[in-house]
């Protein structure tokens, strides 16, 4: 039985990853999950310098999911490399570093800086965070801007790059095609969908930022649809995410066209989710006679 998948020459022991921003750098979940069992740890977005993020409240629950407006708080690349990458050296799993920035230069600085880090197998470029006003989302919602930043990053990146796409667009296929045309090695989607919650008793927004990114099982049908559309629009691999709670969900994304999948908000519901998904995929494969996980990709 084969559960390994390959993306841009990088081999993952299984298709299950952590969704950026929901798993720290793995440290916080290592009480619960054996990181060695995961296909990859995808780290929280890191910028060239520390970012303080947004004011609180930053998170709020919604039906079947949550809104977050963390605003990409992060310690900057130096602390990250010294502490988080160092921590990850103990584990036998692939490491994908999620990169954020406010300008093209910010991104390039982080990407260049990570070029020398052997522990980093791939880079995931977050051009789709709905919670930061400057830059970021603008790249993810305009195909020319996406093309431009992808091309520039690809030029300096030593590791293969994954462009993380925003679902807050009219046509995900067009965005996927732009990323591919500009040289992206893979794409991942979906980032959160912009949402809002109002407390009608306090007559206030539930989040200080007013809007937040929606994640969790509630968004899964939208995510599956976008993964299907994107993976049928491009030839580069797609990493699918959005509401994955169990192995069935993961397999749904794979059948829709994903080469790998990531677990996000559901880590908060059940910190063992990633491991459960890994085990559940194997059980499904055994039970239904799937020899190679790659055989069921795009099977519908």
């Amino acid at each position: 039985m084969n559960t390994t998948v390959e993306i841009a020459g990088v081999k993952f022991k299984n298709p299950v990853m952590t969704a950026s921003g929901t798993f720290g750098s793995g440290m916080e979940y290592s009480d619960f999950v054996d990181l060695n069992k995961l296909g990859a740890v995808v780290t929280k977005g890191v910028a060239n310098v520390p970012w303080p993020g947004n004011p609180v409240p930053r998170v709020t629950e919604v039906y079947g999911g949550m809104l977050n407006a963390i605003g990409l708080q992060n310690p900057g690349i130096d602390v990250f490399a010294k502490r988080d990458l160092e921590f990850l050296k103990k584990y036998d799993t692939k490491v994908i570093v999620n990169v954020c920035g406010k300008s093209v230069e910010d991104y390039l600085e982080v990407v260049e800086r990570l070029g020398d880090e052997e522990r980093v197998d791939m880079l995931e470029i977050n051009v789709s965070c709905p919670n930061v006003k400057e830059g970021a989302i603008a790249f993810g919602q305009n195909k020319d801007a996406l093309y431009d930043i992808t091309e520039k990053i690809k030029k300096v990146a030593k590791q293969p790059i994954i462009m993380k796409l925003s679902p807050n667009v009219t046509s995900i296929s067009e965005m996927a095609k732009a990323a591919e045309a500009a040289g992206a090695d893979a794409i991942s989607l979906i980032n959160t969908i912009t949402g809002m919650k109002i407390d009608i008793y306090k007559r206030k927004f539930a989040l200080a930022n007013k809007t937040g990114g929606m994640s969790g099982p509630a968004i899964k049908p939208v995510a599956v649809r976008m993964v299907y559309e994107a993976s049928h629009a491009v030839d580069i691999p797609v990493i699918g995410m959005g509401g994955i709670a169990n192995a069935e969900d993961a397999i749904e994304f794979i059948m829709a066209g994903a080469t790998a999948v990531a677990v996000g908000a559901m880590n908060f519901h059940n910190p063992y989710t990633t491991e459960k998904v890994v085990d559940g995929i194997e059980e499904y494969m055994k039970k239904y006679g799937v020899e190679d996980i790659n055989d069921i990709r795009k099977i519908v």
Binding site: G24, G53, V56, F268
Partner: protein
């Protein structure tokens, strides 16, 4: 630090403690590892709500490997918890957070202060301070002074009520002044305005104050960066003066907080 886990806990008992306030004992394997001031994440069974509800650990009974939660019904999650009966199973995540630094109080005059639904975590705290010179100053809205009789077992007990029906009329600071309570160390939990007042009071009287904070949480384990509070010094995690309440707290040295 005890290893965190998410596990089913058995409801040992549940009762109404005061208007809208419930008192539930849960059997859980980590009870013995709990430090006072720590909390758990309690998961509603309602399948449309996914996040754990942070609830402080009010008391620990190591003999029964049990923890006690005292909580106010404010929304769908706590309303559901209130329906739990003896023998039911409920999922909890814990133990979470750092807890009060009992050691710094050794040999000092220590006051535990709670306001409203901030009262519960101080009970186990008072208990663990036994042997020290402990006063408990608890603030309530009215005469429903839940848990106050239990504090009396471990501490000199003072009450403040907003409506003046019991003890000092006013807040916990009013009671401190009225009762001329001396203190070197304060352990406190309650609404933000009360905690701000305590911080000011502590620096006025030259005491150390440790404050337990609240914020909306998603993960409860330090991963999501949802629950931050502004700190004076750069924090350990992101180096941006944002400590995570769920892991760096919920208890902070008041001197470290920008509040």
């Amino acid at each position: 630090m005890a290893k965190k886990m998410k596990k089913e806990a058995k409801v040992l008992s549940q009762k109404l403690l005061a208007d809208g306030i419930y008192d539930m004992w849960l059997e859980t394997p980590f009870a013995g590892d709990v430090r006072p001031g720590q909390f758990v994440g309690v998961y509603p069974a309602n399948k449309s709500t996914l996040l754990p509800r942070p609830i402080s650990i009010c008391e620990v009974d190591t003999d029964r490997s049990a923890i006690r939660l005292v909580y106010r019904v404010v929304g769908s999650g706590t309303a559901e918890f209130a329906l739990c009966k003896e023998g039911d199973q409920i999922n909890i995540l814990g133990p979470l957070g750092n807890g009060f630094p009992i050691d710094v109080a050794k040999g000092k005059k220590v006051v535990v202060m709670g306001g409203g639904i901030g009262v519960p975590p101080l009970l186990e705290t008072a208990k663990r301070l036994s042997g020290e010179d402990v006063s408990a100053v608890m603030g309530y809205r009215n005469s429903e002074t839940f848990l106050s009789d239990e504090f009396a077992k471990y501490a000199k007990m003072y009450i403040a009520t907003e409506d003046g029906s019991v003890g000092t009329k006013g807040n916990v600071i009013d009671a401190m002044k009225a009762e001329k309570i001396e203190c070197d160390v304060i352990f406190a939990c309650g609404p933000m305005p009360m905690l701000r007042a305590i911080k000011a009071y502590a620096s006025e009287v030259g005491a150390k104050a440790y404050l337990s904070l609240e914020e909306r949480m998603a993960c409860g384990v330090g991963a999501c960066l949802g629950c931050i509070t502004k700190t004076k010094e750069i924090d350990d995690h992101s180096r941006v003066h944002n400590a995570r309440i769920c892991t760096d707290g919920p208890v902070f040295d008041a001197d470290d907080l920008e509040m």
